[in-house]
Point group: C2
Chain length 213, copies 2
């Protein structure tokens, strides 16, 4: 009886990974649900696509930091770089923003991405290096002219102003910073018919572990 149940359960667990392809023309078997590396590969595909494709869900992650008073802060950022071999994600920012003040005090940050079509939540923690001046010059040189106004707002971001538009956006290379985010941990949740959750840790050379979701 228990054995029959186990067999039925196995069939069921695999059946849910059988999906129609995009054109509804044929059934496709997804990768083994227990394949940890396949899940990590998928997350990196989304991150890489985020850098290249402005309409990809990973283009604009939510980026959380801790303010000097201990309050968590979260805002949308644009993903500018993703290197799996270096375990690095890259974000560009104005050094006058609150996220830089937060990171100077506590260099830990978290990324959050929800990929609707894949039913995948990507959560990443990182230690952030703030690169400015000559360390960031190469990257600044590649920022398109029209995007440079994102670095240099006067008065500085977060300053109270009397009118909604009482600010200017000159471009200022001295205000440009690259946030080089050295990844520590990747936590993935796949919201399939049954949820799967796995954690991948840099210290373990990115080996993964399934977690109860």
């Amino acid at each position: 009886m228990n054995r029959q149940y186990a067999v039925l359960k196995t069939i069921y667990l695999h059946f849910q990974f059988l999906h129609l392809n995009k054109d509804n023309t044929k059934w496709q078997l997804m990768s083994d649900p227990n394949d940890l590396q396949a899940l990590l590969d998928e997350a990196w595909r989304h991150l890489s696509r985020g850098v290249a494709d402005s309409r990809s869900p990973a283009r604009c992650p939510t980026f959380a930091t801790v303010a000097p008073d201990g309050t968590p802060e979260a805002r949308t950022v644009v993903l500018r770089g993703a290197s799996r071999s270096q375990s690095v994600l890259e974000v560009h920012t104005d050094i006058a923003t609150s996220k830089v003040a937060a990171l100077q005090h506590n260099p830990k940050a978290a990324f959050h991405v929800w990929v609707p079509r894949a039913d995948l939540q990507i959560r990443i923690t990182a230690t952030v290096e703030i690169q400015t001046g000559s360390d960031a010059k190469q990257k600044w040189d590649r920022v398109p002219e029209g995007s440079r106004v994102s670095y240099g707002t006067r008065p500085t971001p977060g300053t109270a102003i009397l009118d909604a538009f009482a600010y200017e956006k000159p471009s200022d290379s001295e205000r440009f910073a690259v946030l080089r985010c050295n990844l520590l941990e990747i936590d993935l949740v796949h919201l399939g018919a049954r949820h799967r959750r796995a954690e991948f840790i840099r210290e373990n050379k990115w080996a993964g572990t399934w977690l109860a979701p």
Copy 2:
């Protein structure tokens, strides 16, 4: 000369708030771009809709907390309540999740919502009360049977397991918690033709201030 420029600038700033309606049949004037309360009203409309409509962008905010070791954490949550009169947002969770461990150590949290159609980023900070047992019983009684399995996963969420599906989801009212988030600050960024950013603070009875974006 300066005066002519000022007049032209005023016309321009108002022109950008003239939009075609949804059917492209007539021009509509948006509210005064300097109307702080109109912007706050809009944010609350989205938050209220998030509670009622599962497809609304505010249905699933990103919720950031600070882990006991000082690392920020962010994850998707479901918005279960939004009361403007009480300045409260409500989230339900399993007490065995990392967010509860984080909030027991540091009760501050941040919500982040991006509303694509409105080009509006809603950022909120709050102090969170964790209600369990008899304090949460009324809310538990209203959780649909099928949703109760979200509270009680065994082993507890985040525990390493040997197989992706080596967990069970019984429902357990003892594991149910209401996170009553008492709002402290609302920071709104409207990414229009020109960006507008405003901050609203509970201490100031939710009066707003424009900020440089």
